[in-house]
């Protein structure tokens, strides 16, 4: 433990160095750049595993140092190794590694391959740095770096106007949340006097400091603002679907598995600061987001957008889990979700890649036969996400959340919202799978789709295996994950699965999921045989509602109509103010100055200049006369020096005599 903590900083540093080196490489050194990035992330992964191993046996270790001093206070930084960070680091490093490898195949044709890996490595470095940070300040820096990497990668194809716009949107919207985060952070510093999380009892998360905080609910809510922005919670969720303009591996890595989870991780990390009031807000926001996003997902037709809304919805689940059930519940869903959502995105990428960059699910169909590996793994991911019982990780983690909500003392509404979300999730995922893989090919592209190379399918297979297996670490019968995070030990007890608290919830959610799958399958299984141009069955049934949902409940339009328009109006007003009022003032002053200047000029010309002319003429004449001494003849200079030497010598000798 003590030894690994000394080298913990290597985990983010390795990819950071790779990113730096990659930035300096010329564009044609593709292999070297990718090799550097993958090698670096492998190192990080191995180190993370070592760190994880170390945390299995002991609790928390920190390593702090002083960054700089101002006045009497000093800013401290450091890194921490605890189960929360370790599990996150392993997850991030592993998913990153797999996605890096996948990108080798996905981005093989891209001419900016080198830059891509540079950005990926930068992202990984920032994310890993965030995970091990032991200071809110360092956390915030990495947080912003992550945002920067996200911006760069969303806008990776910046030639596309939509990608550039999406990148800007993502950057600006998350900045809104970050402003809250920053204010919260400063407030926290003002109150607690430190940004260190853990500092031998002095850190801001430790009872000594956290217990005595005044106004901590406000601080917690402000920090939660950051999480809302980063994790795409209502009302700042609008950037995440647009972020799908980036390359698919980026969507998988950043906008599904890791970065968006940073918000959840932030709440998990500062959990001791979260007052019950704040947790209520968290739960409600999460619940609303979960249902809201899931319902939007039902009506989307872009394969990646569906997954994006699914991600938003799942992040809402995580928030609910955190708010109602505590760190372990939220983090467990985060972990399982990371694997199966990465799997789904990579599978979607494989589909897109196979269908020659086609993203509309209505134009696919029948890919089951043409992309067998992708189909198999995608199906695993879909079932994990939908929460198909027993064998898939999503079931266990979602069940834990629902269970926590069921026993929540605040309100039962989030519980029902969660159940609704589970139903919707199963519905839209089945819809998607039916549209994409089952039925007949709808277009020529779909007919000629091809399976992806092994460099892409192998990560899919690994992720599929993980998506199944990870769930077993957190079942009610063997809650190892929860115990690990809480620092206890877990015993295997099958009977817990069957007790009266757990079983009804489980059965209820299973029933809802089954209902969603069956209903959706019934609708779309048949519909997938029809031509693509035809309207969606739901649209036929409820055109108004469907249109509303398809337009994402008009949130973007709402923002345009309110926030953006207000801002524009205010800007116009400011412009007018500037132009008419201030400008008029300035013009008046200007005229005055001009008049004065004219007067001055006349005085200057007639009185001052004449005098100076005479003076300068005299100086110039004198200078010309003197400058004749410097005639450029070195020998003359030497002669003068010689004569001067003689003079000095004579003076000296006479002086002595």
């Amino acid at each position: 433990m003590e030894s690994i903590i000394q080298y913990l900083w290597l985990i983010p540093t390795a990819p950071l160095l790779a990113a730096g080196a990659g930035a300096l490489l010329p564009r044609r050194r593709r292999r070297l750049s990718a090799g550097l990035a993958i090698g670096a992330i492998s190192i990080s992964f191995l180190l993370s595993c070592a760190a994880f191993w170390a945390t299995l046996h002991s609790g928390r270790a920190t390593s702090n140092f002083r960054w700089f001093d101002f006045g009497t206070t000093s800013v401290q930084m450091g890194w921490v190794l605890d189960p929360l960070g370790a599990i996150m680091a392993v997850m991030v490093a592993l998913v990153s590694l797999l996605i890096f490898i996948y990108s080798l195949g996905y981005m093989a044709k891209d001419e900016n391959f080198t830059r891509f890996f540079c950005f990926l490595a930068l992202f990984a470095a920032a994310m890993l740095g965030l995970v091990i940070a032991n200071s809110l300040l360092l956390f915030f820096m990495c947080w912003e770096l992550v945002g920067l990497a996200s911006y760069l990668l969303i806008g990776f194809w910046f030639q596309k106007p939509s990608a550039a716009a999406a990148a800007k949107k993502a950057f600006i919207v998350t900045r809104i949340g970050d402003l809250g985060f920053l204010v919260g952070m400063l407030w926290l510093y003002a109150k607690a006097g430190t940004h260190l999380f853990y500092d031998h009892g002095q850190g801001c998360l430790e009872p000594a400091a956290a217990g005595g905080l005044v106004a901590s609910t406000a601080i917690a809510l402000l920090i939660f603002c950051g999480a809302v922005g980063k994790s795409g919670q209502i009302p700042l969720h609008v950037w995440l679907p647009d972020a799908m303009e980036g390359p698919t591996p980026v969507s998988a890595l950043i906008h599904a598995a890791t970065m968006v989870a940073a918000g959840v991780f932030l709440i998990a990390r500062v959990y001791p600061l979260m007052t019950p009031g704040a947790l209520q807000v968290v739960t409600w926001v999460g619940a609303l987001t979960a249902v809201f996003a899931a319902s939007i997902a039902v009506a989307q037709s872009d394969i990646k957008r569906i997954l994006a809304y699914s991600t938003v919805s799942q992040l809402g689940y995580m928030m609910m889990g955190l708010g109602a059930g505590g760190v372990a519940v939220g983090m467990f869903h985060l972990t399982t979700h990371a694997f199966f959502k990465a799997l789904l995105f990579l599978g979607a990428g494989s589909v897109i890649h196979g269908c020659h960059e086609e993203q509309d699910i209505r134009k696919m169909g029948g890919l089951r036969l043409r992309l067998p590996v992708t189909f198999a793994t995608y199906a695993v991911g879909m079932m994990a996400l939908s929460g198909v019982p027993l064998f898939f990780s999503g079931f266990w983690s979602k069940d834990a959340i629902l269970d926590a909500l069921h026993h929540w003392r605040g309100s039962q509404v989030p519980f029902y919202l969660g159940l609704l979300g589970a139903f919707l999730t199963a519905f839209y995922m089945t819809r998607q799978v039916c549209r994409v893989f089952l039925g007949k090919p709808m277009t020529v592209e779909a007919e000629h789709a091809h399976e992806s190379p092994p460099v892409m399918t192998v990560p899919l297979l690994i992720l599929a295996a993980l998506a199944v297996m990870v769930g077993f670490f957190g079942t009610p019968a063997w809650p190892w994950f929860q115990a690990y995070l809480d620092g206890g030990s877990a015993g295997f007890d099958l009977s817990k699965l069957m007790n009266e608290h757990q079983l009804p919830v489980m059965l209820l959610s299973t029933a809802l999921v089954a209902a969603g799958i069956v209903w959706s399958g019934w609708i779309y299984g048949r519909a997938s045989a029809r031509p693509a141009r035809e309207a969606d069955p739901l649209e036929v049934a409820q055109p108004a509602l469907f249109a509303c949902v398809q337009k994402k409940f008009y949130v973007d339009e709402f923002y345009d109509a309110t926030v953006v328009r207000l801002t524009t109006a205010f800007a116009r007003f400011c412009d007018w103010l500037d132009r008419v009022v201030l400008g008029g003032l300035v013009r008046a002053v200007c005229w005055l100055a001009l008049a004065l200047a004219r007067l001055d000029r006349n005085v200057d010309k007639s009185v001052v200049n004449e005098g100076f002319d005479i003076g300068t003429e005299a100086v110039r004449g004198a200078g010309q006369w003197v400058s004749r001494l410097q005639n450029g003849q070195v020998q003359r200079y030497l002669r003068v020096i010689g004569l001067a030497f003689c003079g000095l010598l004579i003076l000296l000798l006479w002086g002595c005599a």
Binding site: Q635, R639, G642, L643, F645, C646, L649, I650, L653
Partner: protein, 172 residues
């Protein structure tokens, strides 16, 4: 007595070389006479028990600087174009009196100072080992500085002496 004669011989060689170097028409002769003067000075150094300095003088002045001068004379075609007799004649009266004046002042000051009539202290010698040790201890900073200076001078001389690229010539 022997020492006196040797000194007079060396001094005569040095002065003759110097005068010839400053007065001869042909620049190559001047350069070679200057080399002779340098060699005579080296002999005087040897006579003053400064072996190391004497050899260094020979090596650097006769072996290097004289050759450099000769090269420059050839490169500037100084050996072919004779400086106009008129210009040199007119310049004699500008240069020589100043030189003579300085010389007179120096000799007057030498003669005027009473403490300078002194005989050498006996049995002084400067072993190379001691010179080396001093160079590496007391004078190590000057030594390093000289090394730096010579490197800079070398580079500078090369850069100045390089033929400029044709494009940079403004006219012609």
């Amino acid at each position: 007595m022997l020492n006196e004669i040797a000194f007079l011989l060396c001094a005569a060689l040095t002065l003759a070389g110097a005068v010839a170097a400053m007065m001869l028409r042909n620049l190559v002769h001047c350069a070679l006479c200057a080399a002779g003067a340098f060699a005579g000075l080296a002999a005087i150094y040897l006579q003053l028990d400064a072996e190391f300095v004497g050899f260094a003088q020979l090596l650097i002045y006769v072996g290097a600087i004289a050759i450099l001068i000769v090269f420059t004379v050839l490169l500037t075609r100084g050996a072919e174009i004779q400086p106009g007799a008129a210009s040199s004649a007119s310049s004699w009266w500008k240069g020589v009196p100043v030189g003579a004046l300085v010389l007179a002042c120096l000799i007057w000051s030498i003669m005027a100072s009473p403490s300078l009539v002194r005989l050498p202290s006996p049995n002084v010698h400067a072993p190379v080992k001691q010179i080396g040790e001093q160079l590496m201890n007391q004078f190590v900073m000057p030594l390093e500085t000289i090394g730096l200076l010579l490197t800079a001078a070398l580079l500078g001389a090369v850069v100045i002496g390089l033929r400029e690229p044709r494009t940079s010539e403004p006219n012609s």
